[in-house]
Every structure is written in structure tokens, then in C-alpha cells.
């Protein structure tokens, strides 16, 4: 076994806790998680049964954390993990899993398989088996300030552009404001309209905010790779910036894994509570709506459907908020099958989108979304994750489907009451 | 200690519960009787059913009685204790119940026949009767021989 493989096994060892032990003790191999998985659903290949994807973690648990497993190892029946095992697991742990969390919802004994995939990726990455594209992104983000490299110039240009367009001044690193806005690289590069949209909404609602040039990037490739050291390093940048500025809250943008990274994993990565709160942009918009600070006029007459980002709804608990907002501005809002908590993944979350090796699987998985959209036949799909937005847009185009995709914040801003 | 009258009542209650509890065995017996009666009519084959060979409680007995009813013949045998031979309301179906001298049940049968064998005078007894009558005609009184 190579030194990195040993490092991987040790990382798996570190990850095992009472929940994991109770999950593996409870699994009865019923296979019900298979149908919850978009990759199994679309390929019918039993190797994609979710619980199978965490077999290495199970082996470490059995060998090292159970008395009977230890006895088995002592008499030579133990099952040592090799480098080949890690290699074999790559396609299961990275290529055919978006960590969408549907399996976690259907497991009759309550196993959080998605959590275990996350833990598996700790071992995989430590063993040197993370997808090269994700490692590349990690390097870029570490060296620069975003997984796409150095986006300092880009963000300044986009903010300048938004200021010019909206006539609202946006100041970088402004102390004394309530909110710090962070953005996903996808937004900065592809959907910068969101900056102007937020500026308009916040102005109307009287929310004071800023963007930090030190830490404007919300995404955290460490979470997707599944490496806590990398993830900690990246999240620390934002935490330090926010605490230096003394903001009350950090706004997690329309990005799925960034919400997980910033709000739920971050404090645990740095091992303490934050001095500030983290709120998702849609949560904040819904709160402003409830307070009457978000006023819109007019409605979009298009047939609109909503795509739930897994990490924000199913694994993030933001379910009703976007629908309340959408109903303010959409005249003809229809849901797809399984919408809400059990919505299907866009097909490329959890690092799958960046992973070249997984391209075919990704396309196969999208067929499910395609059928769902075809059934509803919307004019427009609204979502609240820039990466879902990006994936859907490209996949729809590849599949010759002429449906517009939009971000929810942007759409809300479009129908904002013009008070001036 | 329990109140005596109360426990006495309990015993009575239990006895009654036991005595009247049907096991449900009357029904198959009745079906068997019906079939046997058919054979008797068709081919003259007789049949005997031993009521002691299956659990048969007071409740079952009652049910049997209800269906079969009471017929025309009612004979009492006095042979080592009493025996009751009764034709039921269903001609051809007889109840034969043997008791010992103490009046305890010895055996209980249903006979499906034209006449239960036990009612007939048997040849050996007739022979003995022939001898007895001759003795009596020879001047001896029957009285001193009685019970001998």
C-alpha cells in the first residue's frame, strides 16, 4: 500500500463516529436506496446502489471499530483496503454521486448515506483519488481567490457594471454594514446580473451590505472533493473577512454546496461558532417579503416551473421560501413531479459537473429531468443555485430543448416596485 | 381466606361452564350418523359409533339430543348395572348407554341398526332359560333360585 493510500485509510478511520456505526449496523441491504439514486434510476446498473458506494468506509468500520471485526482481522479474515480498492471506488464515489441526498430520505432504517459519501470522499481525497479537475480547482482557489483562478479583476468589473446599470453604489469592504455578500464563481463569470438584482432589492429593503475583495468567493471545492483541510482553509478566508468587517450576517448566495460549506460545515471545520450568522439569500428575501420590505408589482405570464437545488432544499431545509417568492411574481407557476423535498438533482451537482470522466453518466441522469420538464412543458425554469442554473441551461441546449433558465433573485428584482 | 359461599358459587359456576361447553364434536358425529343411516337403508350395513372415543361434553350431548330427539322405543336393561337402549326420533338410530352397578357410565354408543344386538335374546341365554324353565316345571319354586 502506498503512503497516500494509508493516509486515505486513516482519513476514513477519522470519519467514523456513532452515526456511521449505527448506519452500518442497521443496513439490511434492502436496496431501496437504489431507486432513489438518479444514476441507478437512469442506468439500471446495480453498481450505483448508493449504499454500495460507501463499502470501503464500512470495511474500515467493521475491521477497526467492531469487536467481531477485530477478531476476524486477528484470525486473518480481515479485509485490508488497497490502492486498487480506492481506484475502483472513484467512479462510485465521485462520478455517480451528486450527494443529492435522496437515498438518505428513503432509507427505511434511516441511514444518512449522503453523509457517508461525504465521509468516503475524505478518504478518497486523502488517498489521492479525487478527480483531477476538482484538484485543479482546489489549487486554483488556494493560489488565487476562486476555483476559476483569480477573479479579483472580474468581480470589480462586474460590480462596477452593476453599479452603473442600477445607479446604486456598491462599496467593497465597507465596515459597519449588516450583511456581507459572497458569490459563487459561476455567478461572477456567468450570471453577474445577480449583483445588480441584490443591489436593487437591498436598497428597497434598506439592507446595508458589502462585498469583500479578500473573500468574495462562496464556493468551496474542499467540500466537493471531500477534504476537510482544504475546505477549512477556504472557509476560513470568508470567516476572517466577515469577522474583520464585523458584519451581523453573511449571505450565502444561490449556490448549493456553498450553503452547506458556509452555514453547516464551516463552524465544524474551524471548530468554533461564528461571530456572525449565515443566511441564504432566498431565506433573506422571504424574510424581507414577510416584513413587507420586498414589494413587487406585476407578474410574469410565462409558464414557470421551479427546480429545487438538492443542497438548498432537501439538504438545506429551504423549501417553502422560494415558492412564496415565486408566487409573488409568477402568474402561471406549475410544479414538476417530485418537486420540493424529493426533487431530482440537476444531474451535475457534487462535483460531477466538473468531472470529465462522468460526462456520459451526467447526460444519462439528465434524461430524468428532461422527461419531467417535458411533462410540464414550461417556458421558463427558475432555480436558486447558479450551478443548477448552469447545468440545466447547457443540458437543455444539448437536448434541443428551448426553455429559458433564470435565477430567483434576479427574477424578484425584475418585478421590484420602482419607488423612485 | 376467601368467603366460603363465594368460592362455592365459583365451583358451581365452573362446573356449569365445563358441563355446557361444546367442543363442536357433535356436528361431525351427526354427519357420520347420517352417512351410516344411508348405508343401512341401502345395503343393511349396521354401524356403531363409540362416543367415548372423542371428547364429548355436556354441551355436545345437548346438541346431539336436540337433533336426534326421542323415539318410540325406550328399553332398560338390567345386566350388571343398567343399560338404556333408546331409539331416537330418527328411526334406525339408537342410543345405547351402559352404566355399572354404581350408576357410573361405562360406555356410550350410537348404533345405526334395525335393532341393537344387545336387545335380542342370545342363544346361550335361551338355552339357560330352557333349563331354568324345566327346573321350575319340575316342582322347584323359582324363588330360592333367584339371584343364584
Amino acid at each position: 500500500m502506498s503512503a497516500t493510500a494509508e493516509r486515505g485509510v486513516n482519513a476514513l478511520r477519522e470519519q467514523i463516529d456513532a452515526p456511521v456505526a449505527s448506519f452500518f449496523s442497521s443496513c439490511v441491504s434492502c436496496g431501496l436506496c437504489a431507486d432513489a439514486c438518479i444514476f441507478f434510476h437512469e442506468t439500471d446498473d446495480p453498481q450505483y446502489t448508493p449504499i454500495r458506494k460507501v463499502e470501503l468506509l464500512r470495511r474500515v468500520w467493521e475491521n477497526e471499530y467492531t469487536l467481531f471485526g477485530r477478531v476476524k482481522s486477528m484470525v486473518g479474515l480481515g479485509n485490508k483496503i488497497t490502492d486498487e480498492d480506492f481506484t475502483e471506488a472513484e467512479r462510485l464515489v465521485y462520478d455517480s454521486c451528486t450527494m443529492c441526498g435522496r437515498c438518505t430520505m428513503v432509507c427505511p432504517v434511516g441511514n444518512d448515506i449522503t453523509l457517508m459519501i461525504r465521509k468516503m470522499r475524505e478518504g478518497m481525497s486523502a488517498a489521492g483519488h479525487a478527480p483531477v479537475e476538482l484538484i485543479g480547482a482546489a489549487k486554483r482557489h488556494t493560489k488565487g481567490n476562486s476555483p476559476m483562478g483569480d477573479l479579483s479583476k472580474a468581480i470589480q468589473a462586474q460590480v462596477k457594471h452593476a453599479s452603473a446599470e442600477t445607479g446604486i453604489e456598491i462599496e467593497f469592504d465597507k465596515p459597519g454594514v449588516d450583511y456581507l455578500v459572497i458569490l459563487s464563481a459561476q455567478e461572477i463569470a456567468e450570471y453577474p446580473e445577480v449583483i445588480g438584482a441584490m443591489a436593487k432589492i437591498f436598497k428597497q429593503a434598506g439592507v446595508t451590505w458589502t462585498i469583500s475583495l479578500e473573500a468574495f468567493e462562496a464556493t468551496n471545492v474542499g467540500i466537493q472533493i471531500g477534504n476537510r483541510d482544504v475546505a477549512k482553509y477556504l472557509v476560513t478566508r470568508v470567516v476572517e473577512a466577515a469577522e474583520r468587517l464585523g458584519v451581523k450576517k453573511v449571505i450565502s448566495p444561490e449556490c448549493g454546496h456553498a450553503y452547506q460549506a458556509m452555514r453547516w460545515e464551516g463552524p465544524n471545520l474551524i471548530g468554533r461558532e461564528y461571530d456572525f450568522e449565515v443566511v441564504h439569500i432566498i431565506e433573506l428575501l422571504d424574510q424581507l417579503r414577510a416584513e413587507g420590505k420586498l414589494k413587487t408589482s406585476g407578474k410574469d405570464s410565462d409558464k414557470i416551473t421551479f427546480h429545487d437545488p438538492c443542497q438548498i432544499n432537501r439538504r438545506g431545509g429551504i423549501n417553502k421560501e422560494p415558492r412564496r417568492l415565486l408566487n409573488m411574481v409568477a402568474e402561471n407557476f406549475v410544479e414538476t413531479d417530485d418537486a420540493g423535498t424529493m426533487n431530482w438533482c440537476c444531474s451535475a451537482g457534487g462535483g460531477v459537473g466538473a468531472n470529465e470522466r462522468a460526462a456520459d453518466l451526467k447526460n444519462a441522469a439528465f434524461q430524468l429531468k428532461k422527461r419531467q420538464f417535458e411533462k410540464v412543458a414550461p417556458d421558463k425554469i427558475v432555480t436558486m443555485c447558479a450551478f443548477c442554473h448552469h447545468t440545466l441551461e447547457n443540458a437543455l441546449e444539448d437536448n434541443d430543448m428551448d426553455i429559458e433558465v433564470a435565477g430567483l433573485t434576479e427574477m424578484m428584482a425584475e418585478y421590484l416596485v420602482d419607488e423612485d | 381466606m376467601q368467603n366460603i359461599s363465594k368460592s362455592g358459587a365459583d365451583v358451581v359456576q365452573l362446573k356449569e361452564a365445563v358441563a355446557n361447553l361444546p367442543t363442536g364434536n357433535a356436528l361431525p358425529i351427526l354427519a357420520e350418523i347420517h352417512e351410516a343411516l344411508g348405508r343401512l337403508v341401502e345395503s343393511g350395513t349396521t354401524a356403531v359409533i363409540d362416543l367415548g372415543s372423542i371428547p364429548f361434553t355436556g354441551g355436545d350431548e345437548k346438541r346431539l339430543q336436540e337433533v336426534l330427539g326421542e323415539g318410540e322405543v325406550n328399553a332398560v336393561l338390567n345386566a350388571m348395572g343398567e343399560s338404556f337402549v333408546q331409539e331416537t326420533e330418527i328411526p334406525g338410530v339408537w342410543r345405547v348407554d351402559h352404566y355399572d352397578q354404581q350408576g357410573e357410565t361405562q360406555s356410550r354408543f350410537i348404533e345405526v341398526t334395525f335393532i341393537p344386538d344387545i336387545l335380542r335374546t342370545h342363544r346361550e341365554d335361551a338355552v339357560r332359560g330352557h333349563e331354568m324353565l324345566a327346573e321350575r316345571l319340575n316342582g322347584k319354586t323359582g324363588a330360592d333360585k333367584k339371584g343364584g
Binding site: A18, S26, D35, D44, P108, V109, G110, N268 | -
Partner: protein, 221 residues
């Protein structure tokens, strides 16, 4: 002179039961302690929902499948339900079993009649055979299965089958069948801590953790 069948019965409910009980109780305790001591790190994220409440709630709510699940896996879900319910009716509501539990623990509750017990047993066995079938024929379950999965399912069915045969005297000497029944239970108890049968205890922990993890985020579970 001995009755070998009775001797086997006495062995099954005597020394072997003691051994089985020892292995079962000690084994389950070891397994549960082993899980609990691993603990989990304090979660520093600020809870949005109510993790403890939702954890407890999920222990119960996860009993019911999500809409549409039955259509995708009818044999596993319906069979699973019928098997579990039938097994527990036969196990927990048959009075001789209650008498056993009362003897062991002092706890007692009313039982039900033979019709319910026996129909439950028959249904549970049929369901168990269906589960065995789908484990063997369905590609997903077949690939997941190890020989232990088959063993455990068969061992769980044996007490039902032998019990039914013994009580109804279907074949074999009833005392011998009763001995086999108790023997099968002894074996089930012995293998219990070493196999997936442990889910009977740990499912509550797993569901609790699942519910509390989701609950912290205010998400459904």
C-alpha cells in the same frame, strides 16, 4: 428411559437457551456500546430546526415509505411490512411467548387468538419467501447480498415455520418439532449480534441521527 425428543426440547429451552441468552444479551450490549462510545463531535453550526425533536420524530415517521416508493419496490416494501408485522404479531401476541417474556422480565400483556397468530405466521412466511425471492432475483439486492443476508432471512423464517408445524402437528413428532422451534430461536439469538439482525435495535439510533442531522438544518427527514 428417556424421550429423546423431550431431552432435545429440554436442552433447547435449558442450557442452550442460557447460552443463547448470554450471547444475545452480551452481544447486543457490546454492539450498542461500541456504537455509542464512538460519539459524535459537537456541532458548532447554529441550529435552524429542532434536531432532538426531529430525531425522535424520525424514529417513528421513517416507518412509512415515501409516496411512490411502493410502486418501485412492491415486493421489498409490502413484503417487508407483512414480514415484520406478521413476525411481531406471532412473536409478541402469542400467549406462550408472552408467558416466556413474563418469565424473563416480569412484563406481560394480553395475547390474541389462534386465528390471528396463525394467519400472521402464514403471511409472514409467505412474505419472507417473497423477500428471499427478490433478494435472489432482483439485480440490486442480489449484488448487495452476502451469504449472511440469505442466512439471516432463512433463520428468521425457521422459528415461524417450525412453530407453526409444532402447534398444528403438521408432521413429525410435535415434541420434536417444538424442540426444533426453540432450537431455531436459540440459533437466531446466537447469530443476532453478529449479523444485520442488529438493525432491530440500531434502526432507532440510525433514524434518530438521520432526523437530527436533517433537523438541525430545518430540512425534512
Amino acid at each position: 428411559m428417556n424421550n429423546p425428543n423431550f431431552d432435545l426440547l429440554m436442552f433447547a429451552r435449558g442450557p442452550l437457551f442460557d447460552i443463547a441468552l448470554l450471547i444475545f444479551v452480551a452481544g447486543v450490549l457490546i454492539r450498542v456500546v461500541e456504537i455509542l462510545v464512538l460519539g459524535r463531535k459537537k456541532d458548532f453550526s447554529k441550529a435552524k430546526g429542532k434536531p432532538v425533536q426531529q430525531g425522535i420524530k424520525t424514529i417513528f415517521t421513517r416507518t412509512f415509505p415515501r409516496p411512490g416508493a411502493i410502486k418501485a419496490n412492491p415486493i421489498t416494501i409490502v413484503g417487508g411490512y407483512v414480514f415484520h408485522i406478521g413476525f411481531f404479531i406471532a412473536f409478541l401476541l402469542f400467549v406462550p411467548h408472552i408467558a416466556l417474556i413474563e418469565e424473563l422480565t416480569g412484563l406481560s400483556w394480553p395475547g390474541v387468538g389462534r386465528v390471528i397468530i396463525e394467519s400472521s405466521t402464514v403471511l409472514a412466511v409467505i412474505a419472507g419467501l417473497a423477500l428471499l425471492y427478490t433478494r435472489w432475483r432482483d439485480p440490486v439486492r442480489r449484488k448487495l447480498a452476502t451469504w449472511v443476508d440469505y442466512l439471516v432471512l432463512i433463520l428468521s423464517l425457521l422459528p415461524l415455520i417450525t412453530g407453526y408445524v409444532a402447534v398444528n402437528k403438521l408432521f413429525g413428532d410435535p415434541t420434536f418439532m417444538m424442540a426444533l422451534h426453540i432450537l431455531s430461536v436459540d440459533i437466531l439469538m446466537i447469530v443476532f449480534p453478529f449479523t444485520k439482525l442488529m438493525h432491530a435495535f440500531t434502526f432507532a439510533m440510525a433514524r434518530y441521527y438521520n432526523g437530527s442531522i436533517q433537523g438541525r438544518k430545518g430540512a425534512e427527514s
